[in-house]
């Protein structure tokens, strides 16, 4: 009987965790996961891929779909270029963010705004697999035979206003990011899936400069 009382809370926690991410189980010991991610990060200098983004507006029963291309280069350089149904480019180049929307280009320092810094760090952490180290979030890791799933719940009020949680899935084949799901309190979410990933191809520095 006593064993049952000890087991029940653990079972409840296990069931709750599984329910939140069906098909995944909670990873309590991060050692193996952290090792795999660190090794991958160390040997990944560049990533190029296509992406498909879907913003789900739950109350409106609508989705906004967009597609584009993605580039990453160590250290901290990212280019996200939306190609359809609109043209829009966001480049993070070390500590600067530059956005081109049509003819208009805006550039700003990441450090000019605390919230901007936090969001920038999220993007970099998502891509580089360093999400476990992000102290702005409480993070849990889940796994199944093919994927890791990192669940990040914001701690700070400013980020809580933006996100209920961010869920990143990694493909165990190469520990690269397969998808990022940014979930809002309202039930809306933005889901980005990365496909056609190519690692360590040559990417010119000019890709991360918008003139």
């Amino acid at each position: 009987m006593r064993k049952l009382f000890i087991l029940l809370p653990s079972l409840a926690l296990y069931l709750l965790s599984s329910a939140q991410h069906p098909g995944f189980t909670l990873v309590n010991d991060h050692t193996e996961f952290q090792k795999a991610i660190s090794e991958t990060a160390a040997k990944t200098n560049t990533i190029t891929s296509d992406f498909a983004q879907e913003k789900n507006l739950s109350m409106l029963s609508e989705k906004i779909k967009s597609k584009g291309k993605f580039w990453f280069k160590k250290e901290n350089r990212i280019r996200m270029e939306y190609l359809s149904p609109f043209q829009y480019i966001m480049v993070i180049n070390k500590d600067r963010v530059t956005i081109r929307d049509g003819q208009k280009t805006n550039s700003m320092s990441v450090s000019s705004n605390r919230l901007f810094q936090q969001v920038n760090k999220i993007i970099i952490d998502c891509v580089q697999g360093s999400a476990l180290n992000n102290t702005d979030f409480k993070t849990r890791v889940f796994g199944n035979s093919n994927n890791y799933l990192i669940e990040m719940k914001p701690i700070s009020k400013s980020l809580k206003n933006l996100f209920e949680s961010i869920v990143i899935t990694l493909d165990k084949k190469d520990n690269s990011v397969s998808s990022i799901n940014m979930i809002e309190k309202s039930g809306d979410n933005t889901f980005i899936r990365f496909t056609g990933k190519q690692m360590n191809t040559n990417i010119a520095d000019e890709v991360f400069i918008i003139h």
Binding site: Q53, K55, L57, M59, L60, E62, K63, I64, K65, S66, M80, Y82, S84, P85, F86, Y88, M90, I99, D101, G102, K104, N106, S158, N161, L162, M182, E184, S186, D188, T190
Partner: protein
């Protein structure tokens, strides 16, 4: 504001053909306000209960605001990002969108006037007017105004190849630097 214009014949129903019948529409939005530039996507949807929802988000999915416009001037803020959560900002956006949706309210107090350029459908509100300017024969909507008692505060233009389905909308404020431009885009299903 419109004292010098001649009284003319006209009915609220004359504007029905210009009123956007959104159903669901997605616009690329560009906003210039006091030296700052903001872009994103504006989803406009008519809900089953005939209310209209306007949801503005960044291209990367960050939501800026979610407004609901009902009949008889009903307005609800479902969400607004902290940086925009100021009464003057929300009030300006609310009135700008009421203008272009051609939901002026006070339809029983419509006055129609004219000059050589065309007709003015003038709806009073608490601090001024919503005015819709058409050609003399009423076939084309020339522009839309938000006006105080003394001057035009904002002017909106709408281009629609098919009546009721705006392809582009622009709103320009005259008392401070703000303009909004919306261009329809095809939302992939």
């Amino acid at each position: 504001m419109y004292k010098n214009l001649a009284v003319a014949e006209g009915r609220v129903e004359d504007l029905n053909k210009f009123r956007p019948a959104f159903r669901t529409a997605l616009y690329k939005a560009r906003v210039n306000v006091i030296g700052r530039y903001l872009s994103g996507l504006l989803m406009v949807k008519e809900m089953p209960d005939s209310t209209i929802r306007l949801l503005f988000s960044s291209e990367m999915g960050l939501k800026f605001f979610d407004f609901e416009f009902g009949k008889h001037g009903l307005f609800k803020v479902h969400y607004v990002i902290r940086e925009m959560n100021r009464e003057p900002v929300i009030r300006t956006l609310r009135k700008d969108f009421e203008l272009v949706m051609i939901r002026p309210g006070n339809e029983d107090r419509l006055t129609v006037k004219s000059d050589s350029a065309g007709l003015y459908y003038i709806f009073p509100n608490d601090k001024g007017y919503y005015t819709y300017l058409t050609t003399r024969d009423g076939s084309k909507l020339r522009s839309m105004h938000r006006a105080s008692k003394k001057r035009v505060i904002a002017e909106a233009l709408m281009y629609q190849q098919i009546p009721g389905q705006p392809d582009s909308i622009s709103i320009r404020h005259t008392t401070f630097t703000m303009d909004i431009r919306l261009n329809k885009i095809k939302n992939e299903k």
